[in-house]
Each structure stands twice: as C-alpha cells, then as structure tokens.
C-alpha cells in the first residue's frame, strides 16, 4: 500500500497557516498533529499524577500498620489513581495516537471535524483540575474506588460531585473524539484505501470508537443517577427510598467491561503495527485480526456481570456469564497467535518499540490467563476484591495498554520529532520497566491467593514480605518512567536526523511523509496502488 513518494510535497503551508503564536497557538489549534501532541503530553502528565498517587498507596502498604496516610486519604488515593489512569492517562494517550497517526495512515489531510477536535482536547484539563483539586475540598476526594459504587457514593461530600462532573466531562470529550475518529476513518480515506486495506491500528480505533460511543453515555447516565440520588431526591440506588445499589453495578459494568477493551483494543492496534515492522513480514492473518477484534468488542457487551459474581445471582446467570467470558479467550487467542506467527521466521530486530511489543505480548497474555482464572465463578468468589484481581488488571492495563503505548511512542517518535531517540536509554527504559513491573505486580498474585483484600490501607503480618517487594518494585517502576521523559526531551532537542522511513520493515502511508511530519500533510490525497 505504498503511496506516491512525493505525497508530502503538497504539504506546503498555504493560506490558512497564520495562526497565533505562543500559548494561543495551542489553545486555538485545529491541527490534528498539534492536538495529538497535546493529548500525548496531557496523558503523560496525568500518568505522573496518577503514578504519584500509586506511590502513596504503595508507600502506605510498604509495612503493615498505618504510617503515611490515614485510611480515608488512602481510599481517596485508590479512587483517584484509578479514575486518572483510566480516563486521564491511558484513554487520552491512545486518542493522541489516533489524532496523530490516523490521518497520516489513511492519507487524510486532517481529522473530519478539526474544531471539535480542539474542543475534545480542551475539555480534558478542566476535568483533571476537578479531579485533583477535589483532594482539597472538605471531606476530601471521592473515596469509593474508581467504580463509584453506591451506597458510598450517595453519601460522600462535595468531592464526589466533583468526581461525577469530571467523569461527565471526560465522557463528553471521549465521545467527541470518537465521533471524529469514526467519521475520519469512514469518510476521509484516500482513494483506493478500502477498509480492509487500512492499517490495523485504524481498524482497532474504528472499533474502539464505536465502543466509546456506545458505552460512555451509559456511564454518564449511571453517574447522573448517582448525582440525582444525592441532590434531587431520586432513588435509583438509594435503598432508603426503594432503590437498589446492585442496579448501579449492573449499569456500571455494562459500561465497564467494554471500557476494558476501549483501553486494550487500540493497544492491540499499535502492537499490530510494530511487530510486523520489526519482523520484516506483513502481519499474519490481517483479516482474522479484524474479525477477532470485532468479536471481542461485541462479546464485551454480554459479559459484564463477571465483575460482580458475588452480589447474589442465580446459578444459571453465573454459568452464563462464566461461559460467555471464557468465550472471549478465543478471539484473544487468535490475536496472540497471529502476533506470534508474524514473528515466526521473521528477520527480527529488537529495537525499543519491538522490545515493548514483545513485553506486551508476554505480559498481556499472562494477564489474560489470570483473567481466565477469575472468569470461573467458583474461583472468583474466593478471589473477588483480592490482590489477585489487582495483579490481573495491572497486567492487562500496564503491561498491556501502557507498554503498547510506549511501543507506539518509540515507533513514531522519529516521525513526530524528526530525530531518532536514544536507543540506549530506550532499552534501559524497557528493561527497568519490565523488571520493576513484574516485581510490583507478580507478587500481588500470591497476596491475592493468600487472601489479602484490595483497597485496604493495612494488612496482617503474613503479607508483609510480598508487600515490601511490591512497594520497592513500584518505586523502581515509577522512577524508571522518568527515563522515558528524558528520552522524549532529548529527542525533541536534537539527535540523529530521522529519515522519512527510519524502520526498514515499516509499512504504511505515514512513512511516505518526511520526518518530522510537516504541519500539513496529504492536502492532496495520495493515490494507492
């Protein structure tokens, strides 16, 4: 799917490039690359904020007893860490990738609705401010866990309202972003690029964007019900007025399970770009990847109650949700085997993006296996709300989504900045990350199996050693992420000039434009062979 090599020559700044300088350039920009960069920087900043909260949690859990924060603050930390990482770090990071890369990959000049794109980014900072400043209000931030279960959420102070509004704003932002992505992909592809010729990253985002449009409004509805229960006398979940707290869990997880795939599927997309490039082979089973991703997305709508096996459900319901959940392992397995088959007999080279992708492949699969363990009702009743669950979802969220985001960042950094990143530092970042990641989270499996509950600031003595190991690992992991910041800053300042296509095995239209990608690309659509 090569384009005319000179496709980027049309990228002259003509006419509409007299936007303001300084800060106003970023406030008013409608350029998909500017907005993509802002998304990426924002998500990294939120990643640091959420990471600091994680370190507060791990500092408290370093030893049994209460040392660092009081239990109330501890609960606020777990809540905000979850909300910020899910809605503030991972989701915007992948929206950033989508903004930067989708137009370049499909040969469009920009996103379909450039001004709406600006809006969907600039909604994020107010939400971040609401979430972080809620720590300072009387009563503190929401302390109910990121899932915001009633009855706690019906009772808390103003920090809860701030969290609800933040979720509303983040939801609107991601819906707008997704509408933009769907429209761009459906209508703005270069002539000759059929859907089944799109890079897989575009496919995964198309599917993800549909998921966002389908489920974020349901979350908005659920938190709105909490809001009206709190202030306007409704009783959706308030048992005192005849409501049912368990109903919230059903509505929330109708959103929550697809949300898991909203985070994971773009990660699949990035890895599906990187692994072929460094295996110097086309992706194995492209069509099956598309179908597997779609089936994962569809299945994600019918498995929600496996998050709530312990609420009291008829056995028939438990069996249904158990088998439906296990079914997801089939398309996921298809994807994993396809990635492995892509690497099979490829001319592999192990630059940082590839290392992160292989790390993803191993650890995401491990997280998938612990997910399968948890899908069994009989086992889950024992492991529910234990550290086993914490270990499981950090394997799929950190080693899955985050590692894949790093793979994508290293892969496209030369395209974004025009410079090669420091390969030595990149590899250092990878090895530190993967060692400390496993040190942090692998031991949490044992803690969970031994019965340590999550979201509790204190624990009994027999859990002390593993918690200490986990805390040391967490601080190591947190500090290693600063290496990435150094790499990016160095790369922005200078370094070896990157050619248009710095990876000899890479495929796709994005490598036909010069590095750094000019402000305007594909003003005239490229023609595909």
């Amino acid at each position: 799917m090569a384009a005319i090599p000179g496709g980027a020559d049309h990228a002259h700044d003509h006419g509409h490039d007299h936007h303001p300088g300084g800060i106003m350039r970023w406030v008013t920009t409608t350029n998909h690359k500017d907005i993509g960069s802002m998304y990426l920087w924002f998500s990294f900043a939120m990643f640091i904020v959420g990471g600091i909260m994680a370190l507060v949690i791990r500092a408290e859990l370093f030893q049994p007893g209460l040392q660092v924060v009081d239990p109330d603050r501890f609960n606020q930390m777990t809540t905000l860490h979850g909300l910020i990482m899910v809605f503030g770090a991972i989701m915007p990071a992948f929206v950033g990738f989508a903004n930067w890369m989708i137009p370049l990959m499909i040969g469009a000049s920009d996103m379909a609705f450039a001004r709406m794109n600006n809006w969907s980014f600039w909604l994020l900072p107010p939400a971040a401010i609401l979430l972080t400043t809620s720590l300072l209000v009387p009563g503190g931030a929401a302390a109910s866990g990121w899932t915001l279960y009633p009855p706690l959420t019906v009772q808390m102070g103003i920090g809860m309202d701030m969290a609800i509004f933040a979720v509303h704003i983040l939801g609107i932002s991601s819906i707008m972003g997704s509408i933009n992505i769907v429209t761009t992909i459906l209508n703005m592809r270069a002539p000759g690029m059929t859907l089944m010729k799109m890079p897989l990253f575009c496919w995964t985002w198309l599917i993800t964007a549909y998921l966002v449009i389908a489920v974020m409004p349901v979350l908005a509805g659920a938190v709105t019900m909490i809001l009206t229960d709190r202030h306007f006398g409704t009783s959706f979940f308030n048992a005192a007025g005849g409501g049912d707290p368990v109903l919230y869990q059903h509505i929330f997880w109708f959103f929550g399970h697809p949300e898991v795939y909203i985070i994971a599927i773009p990660a699949f997309g990035v890895v599906s770009q990187v692994i072929p490039a460094f295996s110097r082979k086309p992706l194995f089973g492209y069509a099956s990847m598309v179908y597997a991703t779609s089936s994962i997305a569809i299945l994600s709508f019918i498995v929600w109650a496996h998050h709530m096996y312990t609420v009291g459900m008829p056995v028939a319901g438990q069996l249904y949700f158990m088998f439906a959940t296990m079914l997801i392992a089939v398309p996921t397995g298809v994807k994993v085997f396809n990635w492995v088959a892509t690497m099979w007999r490829g001319s592999l080279s192990f630059e940082t993006p590839m290392l992160f992708s292989i790390g993803f492949l191993f650890l995401f699969t491990l997280g998938g296996f612990s997910g399968l363990v948890l899908s069994m009702t009989a086992v889950d009743v024992q492991l529910h709300d234990s550290y086993y669950v914490v270990a499981h979802f950090h394997y799929v969220m950190v080693a899955g989504a985050l590692f894949s985001a790093y793979a994508g960042a290293y892969y496209w950094l030369p395209k974004w900045t025009g410079h090669m990143y420091d390969e030595k530092l990149g590899k250092l970042h990878f090895w530190l990350s993967i060692i400390f990641f496993n040190m942090t989270f692998f031991v949490q499996h044992f803690l969970g199996l031994a019965g340590m509950p999550r979201r509790i600031p204190d624990y009994s003595l027999q859990f002390a050693e593993f918690n200490m190991i986990s805390s040391i690992g967490a601080f190591g992991f947190g500090l290693s992420q600063l290496v990435f910041l150094v790499v990016v800053l160095k790369c922005l300042k200078g370094g070896e000039k990157a050619p248009a296509k710095p990876w000899d095995g890479a495929e796709g239209l994005e490598w036909t434009v010069p590095s750094p990608a000019p402000h305007h690309t594909f003003e005239t659509p490229p023609v595909l062979k």
Binding site: I213, V218, I251
Partner: protein, 193 residues
Amino acid sequence: MSEAGVGVTEQRNRSTLARLVVSACLMFGFGYALVPFYEKLCQVLDVNNLNKQEGALPANTQVDASRSVTVEFDANLHRLPWSFRPVTPATTVHPGQIVTIEYEITNTRDAAVTGQAIPSYTPSAAMQYFQKLECFCFKQQTLAPGETRRMPVAFLVSPSLPKDIGTITLSYTFFEVPGASAAATPVRPAGGG
C-alpha cells in the same frame, strides 16, 4: 480532490456526525432504560425479590407424636366492658406441633376501648415450654364501639416439656390501657412469652 469532492466529503461527514450524535444520545437513554428493564427482568425471573417467602414451610420433623398434651384456654376481663372467650375451650396437641386457635372479643361499650391482654400459665412451670408464635397479646387492641373480633394465637408446646405435665392451662386477662383509645405508652406485659 476537486471542490465538489470536498463538498461531498463534508456532507458525508455531517451525516455521519448526525448519526453518531443520535447514537450517543440514544445510549444515554439506554442507560436509563436499563432501570425498568432490570426491574422487569428480576420480576420475571423472580430474583432479587425481598418479599419472597422462602418456599413452603419445611416439614416439622420435631413433632413428638408419641404423647399428647391437653391445652385449655381461659379468658378473663379486668374491669372491661367486653365479652371475651376462646372459640375452642380446649384442644389436644402433640409437643412440637404448631397449632392456631382463636379468641373472640366483643366491645359492648358505645365508645372505643383499648386493652392489653396478659397471659398466665398453669402449671407455671409449663411457661418456658409454651412458645407463642403469634398472639393478640403481643400488642394493644383497640375495639370500636360494638365491634366483634376474632384473634388468633399460634403456639407450639416444646418437645422438651417434662413428661409429668399432661395439661396446660393458658389464661388471658384483658386490662384496659390507661388513657383509653389514645395511643398512650403501652404497659409491657409482665412475663409471658
């Protein structure tokens, strides 16, 4: 791309936008629609029903059919213008068996009267083996002028009743509650289970 081509794309973008915005709004409504949907689903599948009777009462396996006890019922009034009598004066039960009998009260005064019944047992040693599951004596009774009412007593005699007790007499005495029909502070009956 020609100007016309750009126009066409823009038009298609707009219609895609409209469809997606409508979908998002519908899904917001869908979240709310889940509330009655779950309610209906729970009704149909009969789950999450807090008022549900836990099936039929389990068979009482603790009935001691090897012996019988005669229970006699007695009714007394303490300065109350009522007529008060057991519908069945006596019955024979097996220990462990749950039995329901009735008393009948009539208010003969032309004003509402509130009374409270206090039970007593003969022999008094039988009291701890006599378990009342339901009784009009548990709360105050207010009768309208001329009203007649039948009220149940559900009880069982414990199987651990000593063998030498063959007859138990349950006697109720109705006292007028001071302050009449106004819901004054009830006097808790002394003794009696």
